[in-house]
């Protein structure tokens, strides 16, 4: 608020901050009656120390303290007046809680024996404090006032108010009288004497300001005899009690409605008669000026200033005022915010405001001449800081702005935060950074079969399901190189530790190499453990792979995984993929022309000879041969346009190369198409890659997809699963029955007097037989399921490849499709989750998301509930059909992931996600929807070479028996003996 400050002139701390002060504790007067009239500041503390200061000039010096004396009783109030009878000198009245003492203060110059008062020019050596008289107080005092009560001349009388509202009057050395204030004086208020009306003004607990005439108080005094000082005889008191009390008359009373803090008698109005006074009343929020008859003159709310204390001070009298002109007063207001406000009370204007230094909150203020200049403001705060001040007039110069030079370096902070965030992110998400040492697995697959011979026969004697050729095992040995790649001996950090020595990184339990293959491909052992491995020294492990005769080989993929745990307990893993040679699954045979299933492909760059394409199958001539030789008749029938294979698991497949460049594959079983296509595609790609460097686009397919045959396989698979489920349920029932019978039997046997068995033993026997039968059935069914699963795997692979060729899908889309069909190496089913529900959920997801026709559906919840075995596979078939249908319309599986992928033309809004993408508006090549229904009727749009393509749709005659579980392989059937599926391989 205030730009102006209060300047400090002189300042000291009374009592070193350990004493307390309040209003009334300061009194400014010439207490030692020095001839120069020099004013001294007397300060008394509640701790009972009286100090008298004589500020001589700017700044405090040790000499300014002229007197310091402990009075041993708390000092409530100081007053200077003519309190000693017969002397007009000023004496100092000190109010203690139970004493009223009047002291004579005198300066002593040091040249005599100490009693002589300083006079003339003699310097004062010290000041003496002598008690003139004292009064003992009957009740604890609150405050006092003094004045020429009752028109006394040249002397001041004292009036002490006690805490309970007793006014006691002292006529100098003598006791005057005591008078109890009315009961409304529960809490004592400020007390002042107004000489103009000879009355006492105080405030009561009713929030009224009241005035009592001295004469009225005096007249009523005799009634209050019990208020005499101690020492008076009690008889008089008794007598006085008998006299009825005269009611104390209030001269006037004003309701101010607030607790009154300060009352002062002064003159504010310029034209006030010299005999009149005005009364300032300071409430908590309001300033009142009352006439001395109680009428309210001014009332001013001061809510913006929390008032602490006030002081009235006289203005200099105008020169033309005459001798008896009394000065007009101004008001000085101290606030709890440490400001001093000056009000010109003649018109109520605020004329000055300034801030006290050091945030002093004054408890008492006064205006006096201390030093050469009159009008100095003396301020005392509650801790005893006594300051003599004057108002500063220098407007402040520009303030130094602090903020700019200690500005925080936000760039640096940002950098640091990023650094920390990165560490946090790494630790939380990705974990610590990749260690430098790693495991490398490199499988080496030979082109040919192993050396013919019974060499490695020892561990397979009991297994007669493995494929043999004239008694020799058909097997391939794969070498796996394992290398612990470690930057030799170099120090690196894995986030937490510095690892120096590579010796630390040798494996704890060696390296374990595991193989994952289709069930039809059997490794000699499930895993290999390499005990000793040293960093940077490759170790080679060997593993023989054989094939089973009883299972279809859907593909020849092998996943080789190696894992180890370092001595520090950190795991290291590595995975590699490899593909076993086709020779393992099939061998060349004489051309076979008849076939049940046939697919025809367009080949843009056909190979010149199929024999070249399958050159590894025609075994090299001895002596380079490893013992395997083509039979003579096969050797003789080699034809570059037709190659036939006999699969190790049975059945034949043929690849035909037409002169037009088309390639047809035909097999005796539908699923075998998958393996044949898989191998053909690989070889064509290799050839293409050798020729042009690009392996894509080797084949295209234009016929309808053989979904019908696929669905039959699917039905078989599902029916087997249902059957297996029923068998398991039955096993549950049978075992329960067995346990129940067993229990009863046991009860009977335990009985001392056994009751007849009642054929329970027979029942138990039958139950046991049933359980065994069901278990056998389950084993058989599981075998069957696995066999069908291989077919399904191969067929699913076939369907996804055909879909790719048919609709020209890119690698990415076809890869996603494979994932959606969940064809890994082989389809696996467990009791809890089977392929059908997985695939159905995936298809549903595709249809709901990237293949959806409705925009809003994309945003729906994509979560799939718990997977459970469906009731039938109709919905799955429908969904597969729908997915393929959508794909045939050119919808990409990646339209929402890859903005550059072409989107459905009818929904250009899909492309809005990336404005960079060209807005695809050209409709995709119109592809007829491929559905199962259309399948049969669709006329072939191919040339003559594909005339048998329709056969795919109609040639599945022997599969149309869904209720009856049927063997999948040619010539194999299932017999339903005792409610159990028999599988005759």
């Amino acid at each position: 608020m205030s730009l102006l400050a209060v300047r400090e002139y002189w300042s000291t701390s009374c009592g070193d901050g350990s004493e307390e002060f309040d209003a009334g504790c300061m009194c400014i007067a010439n207490v030692d009656n020095h001839h120069s009239g020099q004013l001294k500041v007397c300060v008394g503390s509640y701790e009972g120390c009286l100090r008298i200061y004589l500020p001589r000039g700017r700044g405090y010096t040790v000499e300014d303290l002229v007197l310091e004396q402990h009075l041993d009783m708390p000092i409530l109030q100081l007053a200077a007046g003519r309190f000693i009878s017969g002397i007009r000198d000023v004496a100092l009245a000190v109010l203690h809680p139970h004493r009223l003492r009047v002291y004579v203060v005198s300066g002593v110059s040091g040249h005599d024996d100490g009693h002589g008062h300083a006079d003339g020019g003699a310097a004062v050596s010290y000041y003496s404090l002598a008690v003139a008289y004292e009064h003992a107080l009957t009740r604890p005092a609150y405050n006092m006032c003094y004045g020429p009560f009752g028109g006394a001349r040249d002397r001041d009388l004292l009036c002490v108010q006690s805490l309970d509202g007793l006014l006691t009057f002292y006529e100098q050395e003598g006791f005057g009288f005591g008078r109890m204030l009315p009961a409304s004086y529960l809490v004592p208020g400020p007390l002042v004497y107004s000489p103009s009306s000879d009355s006492f003004i105080t405030a009561n607990a009713n929030l009224h300001v009241e005035a009592f005439k001295y004469s009225v108080l005096g007249a009523a005094a005799s009634a209050d005899s019990d208020l005499r000082p101690p020492g008076d005889d009690s008889e008089a008191a008794e007598r006085a009690k008998a006299v009825p009390r005269k009611k104390l008359q209030v001269d006037w009373s004003v309701n101010v409605g607030e607790v009154v803090r300060h009352i002062e008698v002064s003159r504010f109005s310029k034209d006030l008669p010299s005999s009149r006074r005005e009364i300032l009343v300071l409430g908590e929020q309001t300033l009142y000026v009352l006439k001395d008859d109680g009428a309210v003159l001014t009332q001013r709310r001061m809510t913006e200033y929390p008032m602490a204390t006030a002081a009235c001070y006289p203005l200099p009298t105008p020169d033309d005022g005459g001798l008896d002109a009394l000065p007009v007063h101004n008001l000085l207001l101290g606030t709890t915010t440490g400001h001093v406000l000056v009000f010109r009370m003649a018109d109520g204007q605020l004329v000055w405001a300034a801030k006290l230094p050091n945030q002093i909150v004054p408890v008492q203020m006064a205006v006096a001449q201390l030093g050469p200049v009159p009008g100095m403001i003396v301020v005392l705060d509650d801790a005893g800081q006594l300051t003599v001040t004057y108002l500063g007039t220098e407007p402040p110069t520009s303030a130094l702005v602090n903020t700019e030079m200690r500005q925080l370096d936000y760039a640096e902070m940002e950098r640091e935060q990023q650094e920390l965030l990165q560490i946090i992110r790494q630790t939380h998400k990705a974990g610590p950074p990749e260690p430098f040492d790693r495991l490398v697995v490199t499988p080496r697959v030979p082109e040919h079969l192993d050396q013919r011979g019974p060499g490695s026969d020892e561990d397979t004697e009991d297994d007669d399901t493995l494929a043999r050729d004239e008694g020799d095992l058909v097997q391939v040995t794969v070498c796996v190189d394992v290398l612990l790649d470690d930057p030799s001996g170099s120090t690196y950090t894995d986030g937490l530790h510095n690892i120096t020595s590579s010796i630390d990184n040798v494996a704890q339990d060696g390296v374990t190499i595991a193989f994952k293959t289709p069930p039809a491909v059997v490794p000699q052992r499930p895993s290999i453990n390499i005990r000793a491995i040293k960093p940077n020294e490759p170790v080679t492990a060997r593993m023989e792979f054989r094939v089973r005769r009883d299972l279809l080989v859907p593909n020849l993929e092998v996943v080789v995984s190696a894992c180890m745990v370092t001595l520090r307990g950190q795991p290291r893993t590595a995975v590699a993929h490899c593909r076993l040679p086709f020779m393992l699954a099939a061998e060349l045979t004489q051309p076979v022309h008849s076939a049940v299933y046939k697919l025809v492909f367009d080949c843009p760059s056909p190979p010149s000879s199929l024999l070249a394409l399958f050159d590894d199958m025609t075994y090299p001539q001895p002596p380079a041969s490893n013992g395997w030789e083509l039979p003579q008749e096969v050797q003789g029938s080699l034809n570059p346009h037709i190659v036939s294979f006999r699969f190790r698991g049975g059945g034949e497949g043929t690849v035909l190369l037409a002169k037009s460049g088309r390639i047809a594959i035909q097999t005796s079983e539908f699923a075998q198409l998958g393996l044949l296509l898989y191998e053909l595609e690989r070889r064509l790609q290799n050839l293409r890659a050798q020729e042009t460097g690009s392996a894509s686009g080797v084949l295209s397919f234009r016929d309808p997809l053989p979904l019908h045959d696929y669905f039959i396989l699917l039905d078989d698979h599902f029916a087997l699963r249902c059957h297996l489920r029923d068998l398991r349920k039955e096993l549950e029932d049978r075992t329960q029955q067995y346990r129940a019978v067993e229990k009863r039997l046991l009860v009977r046997f335990r009985d001392r007097n056994p009751s007849p068995l009642q054929h329970l033993d027979f029942l138990l026997n039958v139950s046991y037989q049933q359980v065994c039968t069901v278990c056998d059935g389950i084993v058989e069914a599981e075998k069957a399921l696995m066999a069908v699963a291989q077919h399904l795997t191969a067929a699913t692979h076939l369907i996804t490849r055909l879909t790719k060729y048919r609709f020209g899908l890119d690698d990415r889309t076809s890869g996603s499709l494979c994932e959606a069909f969940s064809t890994g190496i082989a389809i696996e089913d467990t009791a809890s989750c089977g392929w059908e529900e997985r695939c159905e959920a995936a298809m549903h997801h595709l249809l709901k998301t990237c293949l959806s026709t409705k925009d809003k559906e994309r945003d729906r919840d994509r979560s799939v509930g718990e997977l459970s075995m469906p009731e039938d596979v109709g919905r799955l078939k429908k969904r597969i059909t729908s997915v393929i249908d959508r794909l045939s319309q050119g919808v990409s599986l990646h339209s929402d992931l890859d903005p550059s992928a072409p989107a459905l033309a009818s929904r250009p809004s899909i492309t809005h996600q990336n404005t960079d993408a060209p807005s695809v508006t050209a409709p995709p090549p119109s592809q007829p929807a491929v559905t199962q229904q259309q399948h049969a009727e669709r006329p072939s749009d191919n040339g003559g070479g594909s005339s048998s393509s329709n056969k795919v749709a109609v040639s599945s005659h022997h599969h149309q028996l869904p209720p009856v579980i049927e063997g999948q392989d040619e010539g194999e059937s299932m017999t339903n003996g005792v409610g159990v599926l028999g599988w005759e391989g």
Partner: protein, 340 residues
């Protein structure tokens, strides 16, 4: 000649001093040390360490030892606890030290960055109070209430060595007969006839002690330091030998005091946290940095946001009836007030 006992530590405020000046002097003891204190006013956003001794408060920035403050306890005029906004802690309670040094008011704001730790407040408040209430150890006092029943009121750490009667004080034209009390902290003379007439001179404030010739003959002259007013106090004792003995005794005691000063500030931390608390880092270098373009650090701490202009002498303003600072040429009280 005796070397002057120069104790500036509690009387001055120093900014960014070389670290050797922050070393504790003889008699200065560490009362408390606190880590993680922010100088919210001058170095907002920087944490530092605060060391409270019996003479001063030292704050050193954690990052740069050359950013430091040494605030003498004598300069502190008030200690408050108020709400501030700290860059390190947000709105919080902070310690406000209002200080005054050679006519300039400085304000210091310290924030403890330790959550819910009132230690900063309690320690400084208590130490400041202990300092304030022990001024008799360090300050010259005239006419104080230090004598009761013709006996010196002893200070807690004070030991009275000698009491010599029949000493004349020669401060005024005539001598005053009185008594010397010589203790380990000060020399007190008081008049036999008036207890109020006394002087208490701590060794700390003695500039020189000598025997000189005066108009009263040989006299013991004690000269006080400029800081306490530069008084020359003369005392006469009979016989001559007594004077010489007094001179020797006071000189020796002064010498002892110079080596092991007693400052009288007593404070003990009740709950000792940690074994001994962190020590002042003993990192020192003797590289003197030539003051460059940097802003004078004291500018950051002015209580009124500026260096108080040299206050002009007061004159009486009849309009206000109060003393005001001399107005500038052409300005009136009204014009100045109406601007605001």
């Amino acid at each position: 000649m005796m070397e002057e006992l120069c104790v500036w530590q509690d009387r001055e405020i120093k900014f960014d001093q070389p670290p050797q000046l922050l070393r504790l002097r003889a008699g200065e003891t560490q009362i408390d040390s606190m880590n993680a204190i922010e100088d919210t006013k001058g170095n907002n956003g920087e944490r530092g360490m605060m060391l409270v001794t019996n003479l001063r408060v030292i704050w050193t920035a954690a990052k740069n030892l050359r950013t430091n403050l040494s605030i003498g306890l004598n300069c502190i005029t008030s200690v408050n606890i108020r709400q501030v906004v700290s860059k390190l802690k947000g709105p919080t309670q902070a310690l406000f030290l209002m200080t005054k040094h050679s006519g300039t008011r400085f304000e210091f704001i310290f924030t403890s960055l330790v959550r819910n730790s009132p230690r900063l407040f309690t320690t400084i408040l208590a130490v400041h109070r202990a300092y304030e209430t022990s001024r008799l150890y360090r300050d010259l006092k005239l006419r104080g209430a230090i004598i009761q029943d013709r006996e010196l009121v002893m200070l807690p750490l004070e030991h009275l060595y000698d009491k010599v009667t029949g000493i004349w004080n020669l401060s005024s034209d005539q001598g005053n007969l009185g008594t010397f009390c010589i203790s380990n902290v000060r020399v007190v003379w008081f008049a036999n006839l008036a207890e109020n007439f006394n002087v208490s001179v701590p060794y700390l404030q003695m500039k020189s002690i000598s025997v000189r010739n005066s108009k009263f003959g040989e006299a013991l002259v004690i000269e006080t330091t400029q800081a306490s007013g530069g008084y020359i106090l003369g005392f006469r004792a009979d016989p001559q030998e007594l004077l010489a003995q007094l001179h020797k005794q006071i000189s020796n005691l002064h010498k002892v005091f110079s080596q092991t000063p007693v400052f009288g500030v007593e404070y003990s931390i009740e709950e000792k946290s940690g074994p001994t608390g962190p020590k002042m880092p003993n990192l020192e270098d003797d590289v003197q940095i030539v003051p460059g373009e940097d802003v004078e650090p004291s500018l950051l701490y002015y209580a009124e946001g500026q260096k108080a202009a040299e206050a002009k002498e007061p004159v009486f303003s009849p309009e206000l009836g109060l003393a005001i600072e001399e107005l500038r040429e052409g300005a009136t009280v009204d014009s100045l007030w109406s601007v605001i």
